[in-house]
């Protein structure tokens, strides 16, 4: 298990980095934390001609949090965001999601931008980005642009970023008042990728009825999947078990064929999704009541 031969560049500016990506278009890979890319190199599943390491580019490693937004530079380590007291206080959902990524030893090296650009359909951060309507900032040869989460994840390991573009930051809106949240998943072992998982948020009106709901499933499709029809079933209803169960059945029923692999069958993943949606909604509603 040794990587194939490749060249390596450590540019010191975004302009230099995008130049390299343009010059080697199709043959270059961006390297950030390496927690996904280097295993792929070790197993020779990826054979880029050159790696463009972002580590020496200034101003990509930062976290800024205020009441509305937690914004994070692409090269910020997942563990740094997880341990940020500001993030814990202002965005407990994001904090909880980060703790589900791999192990602390991987999060010490893995970056927020790397996880989002990698776009594994079982990964937590892409699902959180979709659930929270995050915005992605990228720089390419044509300049800077922003992409909404709903337009970012195209299919398995594929995003709206061109091969010559670099993700520079992501902005996660915080949750509104009287909104409860949950992120839960089932994995073979603690720290493994999820077989299936759910991000839920639920807002309650003063009379206790559900007035907002967001449901995103991960590990069950080619991208994180928003369960819009199930969200529709929730709004205006009382926050109670029978309502959550109906939403779970609908979300699971609406899934296109989930993945079958050595870890789980499509049917098993679909059933997990159904059960997890119900549990996530119950947890989110309980948090909304306490909020």
């Amino acid at each position: 298990m040794k990587p194939p031969v490749f060249d390596y560049a450590a540019p010191v500016s975004l302009a230099e980095a995008t130049d390299l990506l343009v010059r080697h278009e199709g043959d270059a890979k961006v390297l950030s934390g390496g927690q996904s890319l280097v295993p792929l190199l070790n197993m020779r599943l990826a054979r880029p001609a050159i790696l463009v390491d972002l580590a020496r580019i200034p101003d990509l490693d930062w976290v800024r949090a205020d009441d509305e937004t937690v914004a994070i530079g692409a090269m910020t380590r997942q563990r740094t965001v997880e341990l940020s007291r500001e993030v814990q206080a202002r965005h407990p959902l994001l904090h909880a999601g980060l703790q589900l990524i791999a192990h602390p030893q991987n999060r010490n090296q893995g970056t927020v931008g790397g996880s989002l650009a990698h776009a594994d359909p079982a990964a937590e951060l892409p699902a959180l980005a979709l659930a929270l309507d995050a915005t992605f900032d990228a720089v390419g040869p044509g300049g800077a642009r922003s992409v909404a989460a709903a337009d970012f994840f195209l299919t398995y390991l594929t995003t709206a970023l061109a091969p010559t573009e670099i993700l520079t930051a992501v902005r996660f809106p915080t949750l509104a008042r009287r909104t409860g949240w949950s992120i839960i998943e089932v994995a073979r072992r603690h720290g493994d990728f999820a077989l299936a998982g759910v991000v839920a948020s639920v807002g309650l009106a003063t009379d206790g009825a559900i007035d907002r709901a967001r449901l995103v499933l991960f590990g069950v499709g080619a991208t994180p999947v928003r369960a819009a029809a199930a969200e529709g079933l929730l709004v205006g209803q009382r926050a109670e078990a029978a309502v959550f169960a109906r939403a779970g059945a609908r979300a699971a029923g609406d899934l296109e064929e989930p993945l079958t692999d050595v870890h789980a069958s499509a049917d098993y993943r679909r059933d997990l999704a159904r059960v997890l949606v119900g549990r996530a909604l119950a947890e989110a509603a309980a948090r909304a009541r306490a909020a």
């Binding site: 490749f6 390297l31 280097v38 070790n42 602390p104 720290g191």
Partner: protein
Amino acid sequence: MTVNGERHEADVEPRTTLVDFLRGTLGLTGTHVGCEHGVCGACTVLWNGKAVRSCIMLAVQADGAELKTVEGLADGPTLHPIQRAFLEKHGLQCGFCTPGFMISVYELLSRTSTPTDEEITDTLGGHICRCTGYQSIVEAVHVAVEKMRTK
């Protein structure tokens, strides 16, 4: 880079992983190689104070970094409290996984002198041991905490 306080300079092929550089080029064979894809924890080293997997990090990524490996724990012939704790509580059998475990415990105990049970399991959860049974490793961490407090 600096490893265990000693400066090293070398030209490496970009594809050399950090663990192969430490073991092959520097001869520091205390850091072990197991799965080579970031799962088992045998290759864990301290990189700028943080425990990371040296099997899925390239040596070039550690250019200029400060590293600590298991060889850097003891002070000459005097074992580090973490090492003594593993010894006393039988926190190892074959020892293959042990250097990685001790580096992660070292990171934990440099961040807090009073880790919670949850923090301990979260840290150890990033490591696989095929022989000892995790309970004695957990006990070793508790003893290490004690030893470092009374040191």
